[in-house]
């Protein structure tokens, strides 16, 4: 049993099934990303944890207590909204004090003190007396973050925490979130559609697809071995090549009849629609017929396009009618239309299949 248990959660909106029997156990102190394309159910799941949405079936359990039917205001969780949702008529300090004011435990002076401390954590204490609209977007978001952590919630929920920020602010916020997480060990669940965001922030990535969990693994593990074609595609940077396994398991055949030896590659998985996953950083590009080197396998390919990136050249190549992306050195340059060979160590191969 985890700290936060989501058990068989299903949510239907009319005919649409937003969540389909999702079960997830989250340990105390973990930083979990719910990743997926829009409409995959990740936001619905977050809202169900917060209590803003009632599941059609299933249970939400925190610290052993079933809170499925509990109102959001009684759950002692905090959520940071994508639009920040600051109270526009209240000063920054009053916004941050609001959860404490609602809880009503401390004296007003103590509440103010705690709000100031939370503001100091996000380095906004000098702006305590401003109104939210006098702040930049990035500052508003840090106010929202301070407001979310001020009451020391059991779980911190973040809805697309970086999506409204420009590149530089994203990085700042990312660091801010990581530091807060390390310092307080807050159990954090956040929603994102951006694989980079998920991989960089989370300890654990839960990839969702059409209301179900597609893949649930550590950030590095899921990047290294996506497991399914959808995951490989969504996590990016991967080349996918449909293949058919040979009967004896010694090799695979491509759509154009090419054979590839897979000695040294991970064991073939169960499941349909087998695909070979190759990261562009693991693949070298050679003249057709050149010696790939000891223990390396090759695939015949044709250059479709080359993009000069400075230190390296990115090639789009075609293998058995599938386009792949690989990186090559500056020299030699292969012109579009050239026959080339892709060389790689079979140990770098990953498999993906529909399960």
């Amino acid at each position: 049993m985890g700290f936060l248990d989501l058990k068989n959660l299903t949510k239907r909106f009319g005919d649409f099934t937003a969540l389909d029997d999702v079960t997830l156990e989250i340990e105390r102190g973990t930083f979990v990303a719910l990743l997926g394309p829009s409409g995959c159910g990740k936001t619905t799941l977050l809202r169900i944890i917060a209590g803003l949405e009632r599941p059609t079936a299933g249970r939400v359990v925190i610290e052993g207590e079933d809170i499925t039917r509990k109102a959001p205001e009684a759950r002692r969780l905090a959520m940071m909204f994508q639009s920040y949702a600051l109270l526009p008529h209240m000063t920054v300090l009053e916004n941050v004090r609001f959860p404490l004011r609602m809880a009503g435990g401390d004296s007003v002076a103590r509440q103010r003190e705690r709000a100031r401390e939370a503001l100091a954590l996000v380095k906004l204490d000098p702006l305590a007396d401003r109104l939210p609209r006098a702040l930049s977007g990035g500052q508003q978001q840090r106010v929202a973050l301070a407001r979310a952590i001020v009451s020391e919630p059991r779980v911190l929920l973040l809805d697309e925490p970086l999506s409204n920020l420009d590149a530089r602010l994203r990085e700042d916020m990312q660091i801010e979130l990581q530091q807060l997480h390390e310092r307080f060990g807050l159990t954090t669940v956040f929603v994102t559609h951006d694989q980079e965001e998920a991989l960089s922030l989370a300890d654990r990535v839960v990839l969702m697809r059409q209301g179900r969990i597609e893949r649930d693994a550590g950030a590095e593990a899921i990047y290294d071995d996506p497991g399914t074609p959808f995951a490989a595609d969504f996590l990016g940077a991967a080349n996918l090549l449909p293949v058919t396994p040979e009967a004896d398991g010694a090799g695979v055949t491509l759509a154009d009849g090419q054979r590839l030896g897979i000695e040294g590659a991970p064991a073939l998985p169960q499941g349909r629609d087998l695909e070979l996953v190759l990261r562009q950083e693991d693949v070298g590009i050679l003249e057709a017929g050149a010696d790939p080197g000891e223990g390396r396998e090759t695939l015949a390919a044709e250059v479709v396009a080359s993009i000069f990136l400075g230190a390296r050249v990115r090639y789009v190549v075609k293998v058995a009618d599938t386009e792949l992306r690989v990186l090559g050195p500056r020299q030699p340059v292969f012109k579009p239309g050239t026959r080339v060979a892709l060389a790689f160590d079979p140990a770098a191969i990953r498999w993906a299949s529909e399960r």
Binding site: L52, M79, S83
Partner: protein, 266 residues
């Protein structure tokens, strides 16, 4: 590049604009100018210049009493109208009320129904089931016809407000009343003020319902003006009207200054 209109279109458009402005502003200008006349009768163009009629109005017990009645009435109407209209708008817009569309239509219907018919109906209702015409009856009638303004403005403002603020307040432990007080009412504030302003003005200006439900000895300012025009059209009427215009302008300026008219009406 800016597309240039042909001169004929510019001329035509300008002419239409001029006609519209003329009909909007000229009547007001006529009334204001007539109020400064030195003559005994309401004439245009005014003859000479004098503040005499303002003096007459200020010295007239009938006008002052009528103005006082109208002021009290409009204030009471505004209070009731804002309370009912705001509650209704919040319920329709935010609280997932069943039959929200039907309620919205019901609350807005007095805007399109003929006031005359409503006035007759109200008179019959009060005569059959109540004490007949009275100031209280006028108050009820005015509340009914002014509620739609409040409902409309508050609903419009709430439709623009971020609904996630209320959800955020929920996750921060705010119950229903706390959310109403700390989130929804502040969000509705500018709509409430605008709606209240409309309600006050409509009530202060209203003559049809007031005429149907007038009780002996009770006179509102529009009734007084109407009565005076019918029997002895003196320039006093123009002076009172000018004072009403000035009052309205002052209120608009105050709202603009402290709230911003764009925020209130938009």
């Amino acid at each position: 590049m800016v597309r240039r209109f042909p001169p004929s279109a510019l001329f035509g458009g300008g002419a239409v604009l001029l006609v519209i402005l003329t009909f909007m502003l000229l009547p007001l200008a006529v009334v204001i100018m007539s109020s400064f006349t030195a003559s005994q009768f309401l004439v245009f163009p005014p003859q000479g210049f004098s503040l005499r009629w303002y003096g007459e109005v200020v010295a007239s017990t009938a006008y002052l009493e009528a103005a006082w009645v109208s002021l009290v009435l409009a204030t009471a109407v505004t209070i009731a109208s804002v309370a009912i209209g705001t509650t209704a708008a919040i319920a329709i817009q935010r609280r997932k009320l069943p039959f929200a569309a039907a309620f919205s239509g019901l609350f807005l219907s007095p805007l399109v129904l003929p006031t005359l018919i409503f006035g007759i109906g109200l008179l019959i209702v009060f005569s059959v089931y109540g004490d007949g015409p009275s100031l209280a009856a006028i108050w009820v009638g005015h509340v009914v016809i002014t509620v739609p303004y409040v409902v409309r403005t508050v609903m419009a403002v709430l439709a623009d407000a971020d609904p996630f603020v209320e959800e955020a307040a929920r996750t921060m432990g705010a119950g229903r009343l706390a959310r109403l007080w700390f989130v929804v009412l502040p969000q509705a504030r500018s709509g409430i003020i605008a709606g209240g302003f409309f309600a006050f003005n409509v009530s202060f200006d209203e003559a049809v319902i007031a005429l149907f439900l007038r009780a002996p000895g009770v006179e509102t300012l529009p009734m007084r003006i109407y009565g005076q025009l019918e029997f002895s059209p003196s320039p006093e009427v123009a002076a009172v009207s000018t004072l009403m215009i000035v009052m309205t302008v002052i209120v608009i300026v105050l709202i603009e200054r402290f709230l911003g008219l764009a925020r209130v009406s938009g």
